[in-house]
Symmetry: C2
Subunit: 197 residues, 2 copies
């Protein structure tokens, strides 16, 4: 059991249709489009969802309550201190967080052997949190994910708990993390060709 | 390929020997010992490494440089503000971070079917970052992991960037996260029996 995805080609065709629609609507992070295209040009893989990594300022009623959270600012690139401050000034209620998230790519694989090949390539290129996300008779899904992350509480209910100088410092650290994970994405794009049959 | 672990029983015997030694040396987090014992009493699983989750204060030359990082304080439980401050006051050089990490359990499974059963049970109980960590002809490894996490920069090279009031607030948030993941561990211990043959 679970040796290969059933209806892989059908699944891939459906995912590619979804991707074309998302591209037309400008919903795909621009700087990973070429990586996604390279993965999708491989016979035994296709991308389902992906995020190129981001810095954000988020307001949420409680930690982890994504349903009711609001992004006050979100950037898939290095960010300027003043941009972050503009987002922070829009805060009114709930918990205010400064977040960094590493890139995440979900990739369907034809067989378990294909899944493991991709997993090992990604881990070797520094995507150390990569894993096999789900295994079912329907789908084999590899998650490519890196370690960069920040979760910094900034304030609550309109009150700021930290100084502007502090925010300036964490923005520097966040930008360093962005540079690091962008470098990993670039290397992945260079190396992914190795998985061509 | 990859349908089952080769030499599962041999691997399990070796892991159990290692666990007994770690237990004798007091190296296993006390509050997950009974959970580990329950998992290991199942025919098709064994635990390899595990952490019950923790709050810590860490000094590191650069973010992610674990090799040269030093724990100034580490607690596998809720923590008092004053304990955290004692650790913070020991800071001298490098970047100072306040961290929360969710529990992580690594569990060897006999077959891919066993691995997927455990994966789905864990995800259903709130361990949403659970995954299949590695798949090889040698071993099938499930990682059970939850979402709670904090990564907060506190200062650098002996200088503190935040106020004591701020540290008090993030300690509250961290303790809330600890209560949440301890609850998930408890539910896992109650439900794990379902995987008995």
């Amino acid at each position: 059991m679970f040796l290969y995805s059933k209806n892989f080609d059908e699944q891939k065709a459906k995912a590619m249709k979804g991707l074309r629609k998302a591209l037309e609507e400008g919903k795909v992070d621009e700087d990973i489009i070429s990586l996604l295209e390279k993965i999708n040009s491989l016979e035994n893989y296709f991308t389902t969802s992906s995020c190129s990594g981001r810095i954000s300022v988020m307001e949420m009623p409680h930690f982890g309550d994504k349903l009711n959270s609001v992004w006050l600012g979100k950037w898939h690139r290095e960010v300027a201190f003043e941009e972050v401050m503009e987002a922070v000034r829009r805060h009114r209620s709930g918990q205010l967080w400064f977040l960094v998230r590493s890139p995440i790519l979900h990739v369907g694989a034809r067989t378990m052997e294909d899944a493991v090949k991709l997993l090992n390539l990604a881990i070797g290129l520094g995507f150390k949190y990569s894993n096999i996300k789900s295994v079912s008779h329907k789908k084999l899904l590899v998650e490519i994910r890196s370690t960069e992350r920040m979760d910094v509480p900034l304030g609550e209910d309109g009150e700021l708990w930290v100084s502007e100088e502090y925010i300036e410092r964490i923005v520097d650290i966040a930008n360093e993390q962005v540079r690091r994970f962008k470098g990993k994405l670039k290397r992945l794009e260079e190396e992914i060709e190795k998985l061509r049959n």
